[in-house]
């Protein structure tokens, strides 16, 4: 069974038809990349899976979004629990105005975990998973803003991992970072695959080619093509896809 799936999803921002009949299935422990020119609906689609679009007024959603076999837009589903299970990393590093430690511990605290030992342990593990531990272990009490941009983004990844999600959604996580920091994050994504299902939005095609198993190409709100990353980049079926990856537009 697919870990994440969308079935005939349409989304409207008021009159703006932002997603058109999108159907897509993603398996557990894979990395899926969303590519496409900006404004084509990648972020919108990604944010469906943790119901982040709920926050925007005048949004209308049609179709089914299913996570672990459960329709996450049904009434019985608790949004808080869903979001605990589905971590998210944003375009720009956005640590809280708190210490490094408190940033990572935040998710546990808001989910009612009070056990100090457990929290300490999780913070350390998550920072290690995000390969940040050695750099920050001596300054956990320092403000998160003292870190560099790349470190901040890895902190945000650690923050997302700390509450043990099974899925991590990443919306252009490296677009604000320099090549070296980007490389570190890509490495990280590769290592995390064993334990998590990862969806990564990018408009950097080399990045998609490097880190993902599968790639979905979006154009003007439609899912044009979805296949193994290899196939997408070597023998795309659709002409639009081909134009895009050969750099004819976007």
């Amino acid at each position: 069974m697919a870990k994440l799936s969308a079935n005939k999803v349409n989304l409207f921002y008021g009159d703006n038809h932002a997603l058109k009949d999108v159907t897509l299935k993603m398996d557990a422990n894979t990395v899926t990349a969303f590519i496409g020119p900006s404004g084509c609906g990648k972020s919108t689609f990604l944010r469906l899976f943790n119901r982040m679009n709920d926050l925007i007024p005048h949004v209308r959603i049609e179709g089914d979004i299913v996570v672990d076999g459960e329709d996450i837009y049904s009434k019985e589903v608790s949004v808080d629990l869903l979001r605990k299970n589905i971590g998210m990393v944003f375009q720009k590093p956005n640590p809280f105005p708190k210490s490094i430690f408190e940033n990572v511990a935040y998710g546990m605290r808001v989910n009612g975990i009070r056990d100090k030992h457990y929290i300490n342990e999780r913070v350390e593990t998550s920072l290690k998973q995000a390969s940040l531990w050695t750099e920050v272990k001596d300054k956990l009490k320092k403000s998160a803003f003292e870190l560099s941009g790349g470190q901040q983004q890895r902190l945000c990844i650690a923050r997302a991992l700390a509450i043990e999600p099974s899925v991590v959604l990443m919306d252009e996580p490296t677009s604000a970072l320099d090549p070296l920091a980007t490389h570190k994050i890509e490495e990280l994504v590769f290592n995390l695959k064993a334990d998590y299902t990862i969806v990564i939005v990018t408009h950097n095609m080399q990045q998609a080619a490097r880190v993902s198993d599968k790639t979905a190409f979006f154009y003007l709100g439609e899912l044009i093509e979805y296949d193994d990353t290899n196939n997408i980049f070597t023998k795309p079926r659709e002409i639009t896809t081909q134009n895009y990856i050969t750099g004819r537009f976007g």
Binding site: S78, D80, L81, V110, N111, G112
Partner: protein, 291 residues
Amino acid sequence: MDKAHKIIRQKKVSQGIAFSIFGIITSIVVLILCGILYFIFVRGWPAMSWKFLTSMPTNGMTDGGIYPAIIGTFCLIGGSMLFAFPIGVLSGIYLNEYLLDGKLKSFINMMTNNLAGVPSIVFGLFGMALFVNKLKFGDSILAGSLTLGLLALPVIIRTTEEALKSVDDAYRIASLALGASKLQTVRKVVLPIAFPNILTGLILSVGRVSGETAPILFTVAAYFLPRLPHSIYDQVMALPYHLYVICTSGTDIVASRKMAYGTALVLILIVLISNILAGIVRSYFTRKNKI
């Protein structure tokens, strides 16, 4: 799983409690604030009449009207704006369009902010020392207007600056690229766009100035002067001071209560009207600009 649901429920409950508390407190605040308005309206309305607005106070200010105080307040509004508006707008233009970020700008900004924070009674002392005594204007419309004008200056500078800041730089660049000089750019391009917001600021500061009491206590306000001013060197009665007088030190405080309610209502109406007017100006120009 069960524990997770318990936590979710706890979160929901505490959010519900917190939001209700905030809602209740907000309602209380709104109730207090609207209560004040309602109180003055209900008690002041019966006092309102044509006679009240257009006749002199009589019987030791327990009867008659507040005509000279209204005229006095309008003189002070006019005088202070005549002084503060041009200077405020000009300095706003200088600060935003001409002066580059740097020490001088932050110094002037600091001074302007400090002037904005000076208590109104200190303006009163200063106006008395400089305008009334040093420059020998005496207790006069001139002295009072200048004092009030200085008080209003920081507000007008700030709103002008804000208005100019909200003008897109693209307009400036386009104008300069067409060979217009800086002055032409400011006059023909930037100012017209910023004008509605500047006007809004002016109208709001009129409301502010009309109610100030402390600055006019010792520079212009007359306790009782049932005639209209002849020149800018005359004293006048003014609405806020009149209200203060008849509810604390009039000849018969209880008998003049009705007058007091009426005066308070007139003061509120001036503020209300200036706020509404500012709103109309703002929305009129936003609509016009959209087309």
